[in-house]
């Protein structure tokens, strides 16, 4: 089986663009990624497009209607917040299978504002606030409190995640926000669902990201290996059965299963990873994933954030992009934006937030319901 390489990757600066259409936003990232590779849409043999909000709207085809209708196969992907990573993985799968030598993956989302989840639906009456809460801040607050129950994790430790990621984003010109948020500011922000304050919830933004994936043969033939990033592992899992599944979406076991498979596929372990972009949809979630991804032992996540080991300059920097908390979380774009971030470090092009000497990086997303996508990337030799 051939190896697959990212030979072009980019994202637009995340923000709010109500005047643009979803295909227009997707097209911007697609063209940026093509330019990054030095190729054009005419070189692409297939397009994998991730989007949630218009999942039945043929977004991939409409992107080609903006940038070049070449008649290539288009697959539109929807997999909750793992949508972008799933689109990327479908593209990777096709290259690995020797179906194509050059493919394009795009993730794009245009978001509203406010709380996600908890809408209910169906007949009868709304259950929100009657039978507990189904909003995303509440669901991830409950998952965080489970960690508190097991390991004594504190509100302050959860809040420190947000301080760190907001700090990182001050060095990322493509993040939605570049604002320092000291600990008191985070802890005293409006409480949404304890222990998540407003500054501990990801930002709903519009955004897009795209990647060009090439087979090794094609990357060499085109002379693109200099800046190429090798996909060492690509893994997708769904949620294995857990006893509290039906009332408590489980983001832990699908992540642990995916991480184990990804480390095995890449033939390395957590100690080999130089940076991680993980799914900090809420500050509570990031704490869980330190342990789920093996960055520390179970119960060690609070200490990890206290000791600064996951900050830029620490042992294994996490979310140096600013993460979903400050870079923003355009659902369908997030998975590919993570790949852009890690690739940029592996290429040594991340500017002020560069993780020095980064050789191996990991991306992780969770789509609630649930899907977990993990990729391990390495600078091509």
């Amino acid at each position: 089986m051939t190896d697959a390489y990212v030979v072009g990757v980019d994202m637009i600066k995340f923000g709010r663009f109500p005047e643009k259409t979803v295909p227009q936003l997707g097209s911007q990232a697609a063209l940026l990624a093509l330019d990054d590779s030095g190729l054009t849409i005419h070189d692409m043999q297939a397009l994998y497009c991730g989007n949630l909000g218009q999942a039945s709207g043929m977004v991939g085809q409409r992107i080609l209607q903006e940038i070049g209708q070449t008649g290539i196969p288009v697959v539109n992907v929807s997999n909750a917040c793992a949508t972008g990573a799933t689109a990327f993985r479908e593209a990777w799968t096709a290259v690995k299978a020797d179906l194509y030598d050059l493919v394009l993956a795009v993730g794009v989302e245009q978001m509203g504002r406010g709380l996600l989840g908890g809408g209910g639906g169906g007949r009868g009456i709304s259950k929100e606030g009657l039978l507990g809460s189904g909003t995303m801040p509440s669901v991830f607050a409950e998952a965080g409190m489970e960690h508190s129950r097991m390991h004594g994790t504190t509100f302050e430790q959860f809040a420190k995640v947000s301080v760190k990621n907001h700090h990182h984003s001050t060095m990322n010109p493509k993040a939605m926000y570049q604002i320092e948020t000291p600990l008191e500011t985070v802890m005293n922000a409006e409480m949404i669902s304890y222990p998540n304050t407003k500054l501990m919830c990801s930002v709903n933004v519009d955004g897009s990201a795209a990647a060009v994936i090439a087979s090794e043969k094609k990357a060499r033939e085109l002379g693109l290996m200099d800046r190429a990033v090798k996909v060492r592992a690509s893994v997708l899992t769904s949620d294995p059965w857990q006893e509290r599944d039906l009332v408590m979406p489980d983001v832990n076991s699908c992540t642990r299963k995916a991480a184990a498979a990804a480390y095995e596929m890449a033939g390395l372990g957590p100690d080999d990873v130089d940076l991680v972009e993980l799914h900090d949809c809420f500050a509570t979630a990031e704490i869980l994933h330190y342990e789920n991804l093996g960055l520390c032992k179970d119960g060690g996540a609070g200490q990890l954030i206290d000791d600064g080991e996951v900050a830029l300059g620490g042992r294994v920097p996490v979310n140096v992009s600013g993460g979903l908390l400050s870079k923003g979380h355009p659902l369908g774009a997030t998975g590919i934006a993570n790949i852009y971030e890690v690739s940029t470090h592996l290429r040594g092009e991340a500017g002020k937030r560069q993780v020095e000497g980064a050789r191996i990086g990991m991306t992780h997303v969770i789509g609630l319901g649930s899907a977990c996508g993990i990729h391990i990337l390495e600078k091509a030799a």
Binding site: I125, S126, G129, G132, M191, I192, Y194, V247
Partner: protein, 137 residues
């Protein structure tokens, strides 16, 4: 319009000649407990063989959050609680009778399930609903 309250969720059962209860089903192969009725077991993959049962009215608080921001018209703050019932089954609901303050809420605290009107909520046909809540036991 029904002259009696309707159940807020399908797994809340209101017998015509008895007290309301929460219904679960238990897999005959592996013992996994689910809310409401179902055909197959998603833990072990067994087809059929799931028997319905009354779930316990006592349990303990597994996890929770305190909701301060919700949708318009929903009273805050309130405690969204995840409760493990004695004998199996986990349910989510509002924990009432406790201040919505993390300092006053203990993991593992014993609770009981109580059945009350659904906070005055009615559907578009004007039907009333019966819901369940948790109280400290």
């Amino acid at each position: 319009m029904s002259d009696k309250p309707l159940p807020a969720v399908p797994y809340l059962k209101i017998p015509s000649d008895g007290e309301p209860y929460l219904q679960g089903s238990r897999c005959g192969e592996c013992g996994a407990v689910f809310l409401g009725e179902r055909d197959n077991c998603s833990k072990c993959g067994a087809r059929g063989g799931l028997a319905t049962e009354k779930l316990a009215e006592r349990g303990e608080l597994y996890s929770y959050c305190v909701v301060h921001r919700s949708f318009p018209g929903i009273d805050v703050p309130y405690i969204s609680a995840i409760v493990d019932l004695e004998g199996g089954g986990t349910v989510k609901g509002n924990l009432v009778g406790v201040a919505p303050d993390p300092a006053k809420i203990d993991f593992g605290m014993p609770v009981r399930v109580v059945f009350r009107d659904a906070l005055g909520r009615k559907d578009q046909d004007g039907n009333s609903y019966l819901a369940y809540f948790f109280e400290p036991a």
